[in-house]
Amino acid sequence: MNHNEYLPFRSEIKEVIRHTDIEYTFRMAYHGDVKPGQFFEVSIPKFGEAPISVSGIREDSVDLTIRRVGKVTGEIFERYQGDSLFLRGPYGNGFDMENFRGKELLVIAGGTGLSPVKGVVDYFSSHMEETKGMTLIAGFKTPKDILFLEDFGKWKQAMEVILTVDCADDDTACQIGLVTQYIPKLKLKNKEETTAIVVGPPAMMRFTTQGLLDIGLKEENIWISHERKMCCGIGKCGHCKIDDTYVCLDGPVFPFTKGRKLLD
């Protein structure tokens, strides 16, 4: 048989980082080209596959941050112990760093939406000289849901960071409020030239992109990433199709000019 894209390979779990009770990052052995925003189909054989974005990239590993929300991710949480997972990928276009270099950069992420864009934040936090300044707004539901808390310290040293939660019932180090409310207060050097990445749940992306347009960002300078059901990751199964676009092949990262036209 010709090259079989459906066959997964076994990948060793090098480390498990627990962010919350239901969100872990699995550091998986992987050698090869990967871009932030791309995804792997991750599976536990006999239980199923789920598309998971790459949340960190190293020489010999990729980070896959998995939220326990369904049958497959549930099994991954139950069964990962000391072992390995099956992967295939990476799939999708991912974020192309060339679109962000030399720009004033604004990243707005909601919940697990931080995962696909985390690689971009990681990269520029140690290469700030390649930007004209960078701001991260990360919103979560409650303090318990915050992902990558240990990374925020490092990011704060390099860039402007607003960590916010929708609601909190105790004193927390972060601010309270939706990500959109910080947009008008942003002190951007040149709004017309600022490049923004917005990733999160559909409603959050809709309101956030509108907020950015309202303060004067150009729509061609906004990038988004879509989450859809994907069974194959290679443009066959049809679940992720919107209009003439296959999110798995042509996305999941889209310039907003294209992404805003993708109506399900």
Partner: protein, 339 residues
């Protein structure tokens, strides 16, 4: 080359083909219909020409031969994955012109849209096509309007006439076989229809704006989201993955894919509860625009081949062609709203 063979002669040809091929054609499934004492016509393996149903449209298309309804991708054991063996035999598929155009749609998705699909490819490479000419169209056919009423893309064509089975052969490997078994050679041009009772008009002005039309609302209540229209369609290609472990040995299992339908619940569900297109009217809009609008934007040809099977199968008497014919007014409606 054209040949005219009698029943005995054509069955000799079939015998010869069967040495290394399985012959698939529309056959009558006695009592195979959903209602009692009704039959159905599906694709199945045949031994002789009299098993082929020439005078009816098959309820399901040839698609299930190239894209099995439920297909095992690989088996899992403790720590390995193993692909199932490919079939050893070649396949010869009898089909009409609309369906032959449907093959092109399957090829587009499975060979060209993203990485090549190895399971499709290995079946596709083994297939030859025999065109069943259409002397007349059926009530729901609209192939002429979709430009699929004629095809030259066959290995051979076959039709029943009073003087025998008329064959046009384009496959040089078969010439000797046909010649050896035939009493008459003649020029044969496969029949095709030039007019259909059902006609469709896909407006040039069609755009995504049509999703705002009120025309889709009727389907919210009329459609029962059963997915029959997708399953009988020769061009629908969606599937869903299934992982299972065998109940008698939990250490062993398989990953398979099964046909999926964009009309049924769950098609767009993402982990965590997200779901798109909750109502049936919007699912209908998604399907119809895929068939006669956005597929063409991406691939240059319309997806729908006008076979009309979706009309024939709908238990709620929803007509796809009738829906297409509402698009022009729907565009006027949405454009009117904007001005």
């Amino acid at each position: 080359m054209g040949y005219i063979l009698n029943t005995k002669e054509i069955n000799e040809v079939f015998q010869n083909w069967k040495k290394d091929s399985v012959i698939y054609a529309p056959i009558l499934m006695k009592n195979g219909g959903a209602f009692s004492d009704t039959d159905s016509v599906h694709y199945g393996e045949i031994q002789s020409i009299d098993e082929i149903v020439f005078d009816q449209k098959s309820d399901f298309s040839f698609k299930e031969i190239l894209l099995p309804i439920s297909e095992t991708l690989f088996y899992f054991t403790e720590d390995s994955v193993k692909e199932p063996e490919a079939p050893v035999k070649q396949a010869i598929i009898f089909l009409r012109s609309c369906d032959l155009h449907g093959v092109k749609r399957l090829d587009t998705m499975y060979l060209h849209n993203g990485a090549e699909d190895p399971y499709y490819k290995r079946l596709r490479d083994r297939v030859k096509f025999v065109l069943i000419g259409c002397k007349d169209s059926f009530e729901s056919c609209f192939c002429v309007d979709m430009g699929t009423n004629r095809s030259d893309d066959y290995h051979a064509s076959m039709e029943l006439w009073e003087d025998g089975v008329r064959i046009d052969n384009k496959n040089p490997e078969w010439d000797e076989l046909f010649a050896a078994n035939c009493s008459k050679q003649a020029d044969v041009i496969p029949s095709y229809v030039t007019e259909t009772e059902t006609q469709v008009n896909i407006p040039d002005s069609l755009s995504l704006d049509v999703m705002k039309s009120s025309m889709w609302k009727q389907y919210d209540s009329r459609c029962i989201n059963c997915g029959r229209c997708n399953f009988v369609c020769p061009t629908c290609t969606c599937f869903t993955m299934q992982d299972i472990f065998y109940t008698d040995n939990g250490k062993v299992g398989e990953r398979r894919r099964v046909w999926a339908s964009c009309m049924t619940d769950g098609f767009t569900d993402v982990a965590g509860g997200g779901s798109y297109r909750q109502n049936n009217g919007q699912r209908m809009r998604f399907k119809v625009l895929h068939k006669v609008y956005d597929y063409k934007k991406r691939n240059g040809i319309h997806m729908c081949v006008g076979c009309g099977r979706c009309d024939d199968v709908c238990p709620e008497y929803i007509s796809f062609s009738h829906c297409i014919n509402q698009l022009e007014d729907a565009m006027k409606e949405v454009n009117g709203n904007e001005s």
